[in-house]
Symmetry: D2
Subunit: 365 residues, 4 copies
């Protein structure tokens, strides 16, 4: 109940602190006989790792993952899969300045208050470094989903006030290829350039900026999601909101949908044509109706606040409750969303894999 596990049937438990020995994850519930493509898992981690480009943190971590259990002769055996990622660049002295001082809009104060003890090095457990473990597990979930043809793709659709237009790339691999051609991971090349320039200017000003990641699940079968509390979008929402710095989640029509009329918003069913399945004319439902996938693409957006660590001096308080000043140090991202893309995809994959397993028991036959 301490909140370090996620999922019911495809269940992960992560551990590790930013500047501890290692971080890692146990995946329990992955069915036996899944082929494990370790190169793919590593390539996913590479998309999240620090030091990728001028617009990410300069901390150097190879984030090399090692599988300790649960895989035999290249396949899952049905037993728990443990993955370990050692911490290499633990420049903890960078953090000696915040041993005793609470960084604004970080988790220092709340951890200190909740537990009465705190590993201050790099934010300890509250650091987004923990999400590397999620990406490793999410990559395995993607491999599972791929056996069913389910694909998950995300990209950066907004940075600050710069918004990308809607992207229409049907093919998942093509979508990813387009996105990976720029360091901000936006699938619209023109907007990508604008974003990169903006982030770089923000970085030079010692500041940070927020953004939005949009995610699409393609080829999702009908039936995933469990009423009433574990609706597919409710679990997706929780998954996304559990990512560091996320402040909002919407699917389908989202907040905009709250301004619409029912006669505009209803998605009209179209009878199946030939090989095609049932479709809807519009997709304001975002591929989910009554909490259950309806076979249309699942679409959602995730809002990230600006990174709290800035290179400015800021007023704050210390553990004694006295006024103090903190100066910006450490190695941080000017904008978190480019590295958040694989994290969003991974969390989505974990939710989908879990619900795919759960749905296998919906009916008797």
């Amino acid at each position: 109940m301490a909140g370090n596990s996620f999922g019911q049937l495809f269940r992960i438990t992560t551990f590790g602190e930013s500047h501890g020995e290692a971080i890692g994850v146990i995946i329990d519930g992955c069915p036996a006989q899944l082929e494990v493509d370790l190169d793919f898992i590593q390539s996913e981690l590479d998309k999240r790792k620090p030091g990728q480009s001028k617009i990410t943190t300069q901390r150097k971590e190879s984030d090399t993952v090692k599988i300790l259990s649960g895989v035999f002769e290249g396949k899952t055996t049905g037993t728990p899969i443990a993955m370990l990622i050692p911490n290499e660049d633990q420049r903890s002295k960078d953090y000696s300045h915040n041993t005793d001082v609470f960084r604004p809009s970080h988790a220092d104060y709340t951890y200190h208050s909740k537990y009465g003890i705190r590993d201050h090095r790099g934010g300890g457990r509250s650091s987004a470094r923990e999400t590397a473990a999620r990406v490793a597990a999410g990559a395995l979930a993607k491999l599972l989903l791929k056996t069913q043809g389910i694909e998950i793709v995300a990209h950066v659709s907004a940075v600050g006030k710069i918004k990308a237009p809607n992207v229409f790339i049907e093919n998942a691999q093509e979508f990813i290829d387009t996105r990976e051609q720029n360091i901000v991971r936006c699938a619209d090349p023109a907007t990508a350039e604008e974003m990169i320039e903006y982030i770089d200017s923000v970085r030079k000003a010692g500041d940070t900026v927020g953004g939005v990641v949009s995610c699409y699940v393609k080829n999702c079968p009908v039936g995933l999601g469990e009423p009433v509390f574990d609706k597919l979008h409710a679990d997706l929402g929780k998954a996304m909101l559990s990512i560091n710095a996320v402040h909002g989640f919407e699917f389908g029509s989202g907040f905009e949908g709250s301004t619409m009329l029912g006669s505009e918003h209803n998605d009209i069913f179209i009878a199946a044509q030939g090989d095609e399945s049932v479709k809807t004319l519009t997709n304001f439902s975002g591929g989910i109706q009554g909490g259950i996938s309806n076979g249309m693409p699942i679409e959602f957006r995730v809002a990230f606040k600006p990174v709290a660590t800035i290179m400015h001096n800021q007023q704050t308080i210390n553990a004694a409750g006295e006024a103090a000043e903190i100066s910006g140090k450490g190695r941080h991202d000017p904008c978190v969303v480019p590295r958040a893309v694989p994290i969003v995809e991974s969390m989505a994959a974990l939710v989908l894999a879990d619900h795919w397993l759960r749905n296998r028991n919906a009916k008797l036959a």
Copy 2:
């Protein structure tokens, strides 16, 4: 794992269909010795019940709740508390038209596909009638939270494109009293009138419209919320997204925060003054940092899509996959948000009660 339970330590399980015998809830994990104010629980249900005003459905349900277990001589005993709400006005014949036809943007098609069987009467389990059971349980959670001084208040902050200005009413009871003076449950009286007029015009056009509910948790102690997956806002988000018709959730700065700079967004700590606790100058964090409450007011917003049942004829398909037409019948709400206010508060109360209990074990001493 079938998704009808919510919460870990303060755990509820609901049951019942729209036109079945009864709906109800079991609450497991409520500590012993809590005084149970049945009148309060009933008054909460009265705020959600149908037929309250001209802008809600005309279905007539008294929604009288009965406690079957777990309470002895007016106090909880530590054993499970079962509450039952019989269904009275089960005019199922209203629904004979959709036995075989899938209503657009409802859960008919997805339930049919997932389970291969469907109680079509009034949407069966997918009906928002199920939320009455949540309100009963949420009222008990509120009673638990009140022993700690924690108060939860919500109101309708937008209907369609009509948005209420920010409301500054510190006192929780005063907030509720103001809100309850109008049938749309908006704490800004001027906007309320505008909203009511608009909903009424939408209703007369046989249409429906969406809206937004804003919610505030006042007097929340520091420390609630469990890193890393069960962050307080992640659980709040899941809770809200599990409510029928919700399409979006944001807390603190929300989606707007994604457009801001770190230097604007950071909430500066102010040292405790006299009896006061630690505060922050701004509250873009929405009272939650690193997934843990920081003692500032918790603030979030919930977006509801327009109700799918409209009084227009609509194209659709039937269970045989053929094109069909559906005509709007049944008794439905033109706008769901006025009745959603107690539901949002209830789900928030369930999350807070759960995390209050969980936090008691954060430290050894």
Copy 3:
């Protein structure tokens, strides 16, 4: 976490006190499309109900069960199934003598200490009356298992020092028919007579006596059970030990097995012959190896202590901690095992149904 739920995928939550309004159960996770034979469910409850014969308590309860949700046109719909059993004969005044006094070897003292409040009427929640809800749920689990050919049968194999010889009745229905021909529910008619006579003499002496129930799962497929903590026999053991008055559980060779040599105890595999599946020469493993069913009959035994309520005066203490005397009153069973037979079967059915569902996800294909 308050302990009123059992099972993971086929999950039940029970509620209710001995002398409250009603007891009941919610079953969450039963797959859709199962035919619900209400007569069968009621017939199972009839085997557990009080007042069946001279050797059971004389409390009169019809134990009529009512299904409130989750079943539509005779079949499960995949939504939670609530069952309610009203309490009828609530002669609470029988219990006015123990409001303040702790009955020896009952749960009065521990409930009082744990919760600081106690529904003393008939033991409240600690009464075995709660097991009626389990039998209702277990009957549904049996219906699910029957679709797979899995049958569960139990009988009274010992009362006090009277032990029945091993019973060899292959056919499940025949086993049950034989057992039901006597009021003690022993499948060996000669021993049954001896047991009945003995229980009657104990009853006349105002005393009570313990006994053993033996249970067999027939036609269980290979593969049920999850290593390492949720071994099939570990879950069966927990299920049985959760029944009131149970003090011991053993499967296969059990305690006797601890005295044997490996060369005696090993079950030698026999290759499959024609239509038959793999078998073992002996069955000291009790049908379970490494926590997973191996296709042989599952066999276990459950030890019940004598009922604590006796018709003698006993020394004890009261809530003030002072010495007190208690005189035997109320309506109780001289020996609990005849009525425990359907409870043991029900709990076994719940475990098997749960693991059958869980096992569907063991492999990818």
Copy 4:
């Protein structure tokens, strides 16, 4: 749901195979501020490790444990604690003979059937090597319980037909010291000698033998255990039955209790005297009434079958379903109970720690 986790609030998840890279455990839910005595944890592992004496397996493993996370400056931080134990002596070639052949009374056949894939080396995940991870976690649970004065001690009370008399050593440390003076871990020195001689003779004959471990929880406060399914003894029973080779569990009067009369079996309360708490004259309840600890010593017994690996040739079948012969190879224990003593204690500690945390929420105040 794949069964590799145990506990609700003090929750462990283990991973690893007998001949994989490493085994390990994550503990989630340990409260912050607990002092972590790594030497103590290692000393517990040393009691379980192979190669201790002539009556244990000769596999050589130092079983050196490393803490990867969750501990900062010697204290728990409230975040997950990961512990890793590398496998050193992985003489997998010893197991090449059973790649394709199912060892009698092992888990080879059931794993193969359930998963369709199997890490055959040393039994893979089904090996008792996994229990090292439990002992590491259990040692931490013991440290938590010690802060409350709760002590858990176990010893070997029977080997084959040799049974130790009851041992009356009040002091926990003295009990352990006595037990540790002999290699069979029996707290009765005379019986210990007899047991050792017997096991040695069994070993020389290439055979194995079963035994019983008796366990005592001393100084347990009143109130631990949750009715109705999570009774303290039900969770203890499941914990014990989840240990490899266990075939039976009983507490208090156990199976013997089923032969007794209520008038013999009832434990009469004695009013508290001076500083003492409430006691009972006898302790047939084994310290647990209604599933909740009553303040008396908790007593239970665990029956272990003989180890399945014997140094004899045995008939069996292979993966093709054909008759085959297997010859005894590998390094195994002639009798598992001496090394099982710390495992039994550890699992008991995990149950007690979990219920101690759960009980903190029983009452409001």
